[in-house]
Symmetry: C2
Subunit: 368 residues, 2 copies
């Protein structure tokens, strides 16, 4: 290979890909800010006031590195979930933790199974570790455990990615079926269970998997229900020895000190969370109604976003997304067919949804 | 290999190592806080008030992800250094960027050269990428360009690590000699030039390497002079195509939004920096005097810390570090002989150095 830089062959062959383009890039291109930022499933309901206060206080203490063991935060997370501290690793968002996970299990010659249109950042990390990705389709807009298991068997895959609830469709499986799925994963494979949105799911979705099970890793985040996407705090729950492997690759001093303090405070404010759940549920209903009012249909959501079926193909949905952006409304859409018939809109305060409703009406009138 | 988990062979064989134990771990073990935290080269002079204000303001906006392109911060850094934005990548501290660097260039079968006792986190990342590390000794407490070049040739190393000024000794080379060194590195190797402490170095240390040079990467941080260690903001300057390779492996959404805002504000406050430089210079003088007063000698420092030669072996220095901890004073020491005859003390406000002076007197009286 004729290489300009002495990078590894793996890196030289990797295309320069970016999992997501941020709304700021679009804003720079447009030369103005979005009026309604409801495309990245951020929580415009905001973080707990206690978390804000903790981060403000930490600002003047930022001259100190954060505790590289994330001790206090891990202890609080462990207590919250009824597991041991050794079952928890904290990282720079689920994205960071998925990256570490791929470094543990993936290398050239290894195989990974996921779903067409599922979380692209996971795919990015698999590729960067040299793994071969294999895809199964969704089944009625849900990730399909049986197909994933079958494909993993066929490919002898080391990782199986599964998000519950699913992003970008908002669909989910009840806990019983996920538990069955997890139990069916053989010990030579690891189930990567992305639960970023599980806080919003109906009762009975939350999984009660024994943390002693050595091949299930569950990923949680402060970015969604806790309203702290910009803080970059995620965590992973799993069997202690498996979690300990992360120590071999993680950026020990990668966490922001104010983010640690903010997450700790956020975890303690259950009232704020209950308030957010209620507001998200109400915003989902509103989004359903907006969709219906526009002659579209919404996919039933177990998350803080709603996939709205635009009723045609991906090309049409893409036009809707672009036209909404021109109206100052940032939304995204699924990356793959047939889900890309939809646009994905984040639950948000009424003022932002008003703006979306108005823009959608205008845009559809123009495009139809 | 009999493995409990389906990790790669590389990971299975890696020892569970941690580059640094944080002071919080010692505090938890002691059951009390350090009175003087002067061991991690954090700046107790604190960040710019403008940076604190920016981070406080960002706390309530933390529900939004940070711009994954770090656009505004990169633009400001580029302008500050007189390079193009494409020559700059921002990451989760130099630690994070060193990790990404290793992923670009290192894999099993590849070789890396560094100095005995140089930055252990770099070694951690090389090992995690499967590289073979080769070490050359320091020469009179300085990293030795010629030895590094020779060993890189002998091992056919892809990366050469060099810090200027050096951590943990605080020594440095003038820019002319570093430039010669960089020019002598052949194109099939990359010079990893860690400049974390260069803001404190005498005029004439700052390097003027052409960013078009395709095999030099320079690492800078907001953790030291800018007083924002807990924010985790580092950056790397290099040739545009080389910097672009980082896009293939980095955690695009890894940066904390408040940290971005804080760093941007900090970069603009040159008055605060000048004030910090003066205070650090004065604290270094004070540390020299404290060492002399205790019958010890200080290594001349170009950084915000001073290596104090305890005059005996590593075992004695280790006793001094432990005894200082008992007195509530956190310092560290070099990890390798013969530099481990020293303790490493961070420049800090007088109240903290008073505490150190008193504790040192007490500790030495006991140990001698």
């Amino acid at each position: 290979m004729n290489k300009r830089y002495p990078v590894t062959d793996l890196i030289a062959e990797l295309p320069a890909s970016v999992p997501f383009v941020g709304p700021e890039a679009a804003e720079r291109a447009m030369g103005r800010k979005f009026a309604a930022r409801i495309g990245a499933n951020e929580s415009a309901f905001g973080p707990s006031p206690a978390a804000i206060a903790a981060m403000e206080k930490a600002a003047s203490e930022i001259w100190m590195y954060a505790d590289p063991e994330n001790h206090d935060l891990r202890a609080a997370i462990a207590a919250h979930h009824g597991v041991a501290m050794e079952n928890v690793v904290v990282g720079e968002g689920i994205d960071g933790l998925l990256g570490y996970t791929c470094r543990l299990f993936v290398e050239p010659g290894r195989h990974v199974v996921t779903t067409v249109g599922a979380y692209p950042t996971f795919n990015f990390h698999v590729a960067a570790s040299g793994g071969a990705l294999h895809f199964v389709p969704m089944n009625e807009d849900r990730e399909d455990p049986q197909r994933l298991l079958d494909e993993a068997e066929r490919r002898d895959a080391v990782l199986i990615f599964f998000s519950n609830p699913n992003n970008p469709m908002g669909t989910c499986w009840p806990a019983d079926q996920v538990r069955e799925f997890a139990q069916a994963v053989p010990e030579n494979r690891v189930l990567v269970l992305d639960e970023a949105y599980i806080d919003f799911a109906p009762p009975g979705t939350e999984l009660g998997i024994d943390p002693a099970r050595p091949n299930v890793l569950r990923y949680r985040t402060f970015s969604k229900a806790y309203g702290m996407a910009g803080a970059r705090v995620g965590y992973c729950i799993g069997e202690a020895g498996l979690i300990a492997q992360m120590e071999k690759v993680r950026n020990h001093f990668g966490m922001n000190r104010a983010a640690q303090e903010g997450a700790l405070a956020a975890l303690g404010d259950r009232d704020h969370l209950r308030d957010v759940y209620a507001k998200v549920a109400s915003a989902r209903d509103r989004l359903d109604a907006i969709a219906e009012g526009a002659g579209l249909s919404a996919v039933a959501s177990a998350t803080n976003f709603v996939a709205i079926d635009c009723g045609r193909d991906a090309s049409f949905a893409r036009q809707v997304v672009a036209a909404l952006a021109e109206e100052g409304v940032f939304v995204r859409m699924p990356i793959a067919e047939p889900q890309a018939r939809c646009i994905r809109v984040t639950a948000a305060p009424d003022a932002l949804l008003d703006r979306f409703e108005e823009a959608l009406r205008k845009v559809l009138a123009r495009l139809r």
